[in-house]
Amino acid sequence: MSGEEKGDGALKRFGRSAKEFLYGMAGHDMTRFALKTRGSMEHLFILITMGDLLGIPILPPYYSLRLLPYVVPQISTWKRRMLRERDLTDALA
């Protein structure tokens, strides 16, 4: 909790909590889905361009190298996501 939040009155904190709760029920799923869609697209793009990192050479290395600086910040999360073991229960998330 930040200093500003600590200084807030109980009513204000309750109002913020209620707002977050309402958002969690109504809109959080939509936000998650939008993030998932963007993430999946980005990861697909990285797979196509940087597939060599996982042993899947798709694009000639020249182009991969040209794109590398733009992709570097996402490589670690991308590799983790691509290589993470999944099963059907993931589909319920």
Binding site: F21, H28, K36, T89, A91
Partner: protein, 559 residues
Amino acid sequence: MNAIVVLVIGALGIGLGYGWYARRIDRDIVQPDPKKATPAKMYMDGVDFTPASRNVLFGYQFKSIAALGPIGGPIVAAQWGWLPALLWIILGTFFIGWVQDYASIIVPMRSEGDTFGALSYKLISPRARSILLIFIYLYLLLIMGAFGQVIGVLFLSKPAVPFGILSVILMGLLAGQMTYKWKQDIILTTVITVVVAFFGIWLGQTGFISGIFEGLNNALGAGGVKIFWPIVTMIICYLGAVLPIWRWAQPTNYVSFWIIALGMLGGVIGMIIWHPSFGDFPAFTGWSVAGLGPLWPILFVTIACGAISGWHSLVSSSGTARQIEKETDALPVGGGAMFMEMALGVISLLTATAATGGWDAFKEVYASGKFGVFAVGLAAFLSHIGIPTSFGVPYGMVFLTIMGLTIMYLVVRFMRVASAEFLGDTIPALKNIHVGAIVALILSLIVIWTGVWQTIWVLFGGANQMMASLALLIVTLWLMSQGKKYAWTLWPGVFMYVTTIAALGYTGIKALMAAFAGTKVTGNIIAGVVALALIACALILGYDGGKALMRKGEAVPAK
């Protein structure tokens, strides 16, 4: 007995359960550390692992776990009298329900975000994962059967309901278009779509519109209605399962949320203003109810989600556990949402007992359609805040229909992925999303058309509770592997395991005997076979789980 007294008893249950028992377990046994990095932080990828505040997750968890279960179960179980139902809702949540939901977040959170499929592979045995997935598929088929019958056979066949559903769906589509394509403000989108949806529900019960559907039902005849409306339900589910999520499922769920939330709020306010008594509604009617069976084990599976539910463990482990920001958030999110669902179960019980006004009135409404009890009860509560009953009853039915559809979209999606995964290599056509979805829907239709509703509901409850006991088994194994006290998950798990095996066995054998006697042969044979298949899966998992418990027990001193 008065409704307010029951509410106070429920509040005491929550105060003691959450404020004392749950906090004690959390503090003394699990010992969450707010400074420890959770998978949501460690593996944050903005896709599966993303931290969210506990208030947001509390709302998300509650929305994900609350469907028709906590509403339908208490109404059916009221046939044993209000006392056994109330006791099971409160004590079930107190000792088992929150334990499962909370632990289903804690274990994946402490296991790098693994789902229960992966955990069963690691903690029980390699085959446990495959068996668990077969079990889950059958369980989801029963959800489709139970919810599909409620929606297709009971509600959509009422002339005042279909136009309301159509309005909500159309407004959902408009909400999707306004949000994602026209980039409109969310408040403007919400106001327009929700107001028009409410107007549509009101319009649906007017003489002209309901007359059209009445004419259609008359033309179809009694048999045709039972075939036609389930097909309509499955078409809605098909669109929800194959169209892009942003186009159909998500925006309709969003508009539905407001319809449901406002109804619940209005209902609770109306009930508090009215504070009706139970009249001559009996506290206990006997140890056995005709058509359902004996109190033990059937009551404990009839009231599923209001007391404990395996569905929650799937949602908690696959979705919520990967979004927990701090370990200390697991209790308010998992435990808190379960206690809130318990409150929903208590309110549902009150619609059956207090709102109907007495035993004879309850039996009369129940006989005309089990879930109609909730709609009638909600309408009675809403009438005390000035909403006419002529609108309240169809509104209650629309409320329940959209609550069920929200889950059914997800279930069909899952069944489609499951069939592609299991049989995609043997039958490549199943990899096609349309074929996978249609196969799932045809199977669901067979269950809906041929099944006996009470049997399907009890089987659904049995599978649901069995899933919960398997989740508790996995949690117990994890606790043993960590050298922590495990009695608080082991004994609830054992109780649920024995109870659900007994309930599934009783219902399965009863269904098979009814089939041999020539009653609803196809439906009863399907129900019997599904029950026996679920028992077989549960026994294998129990056997492997027992062996794993022994292994762990030898390695770690018993506590």
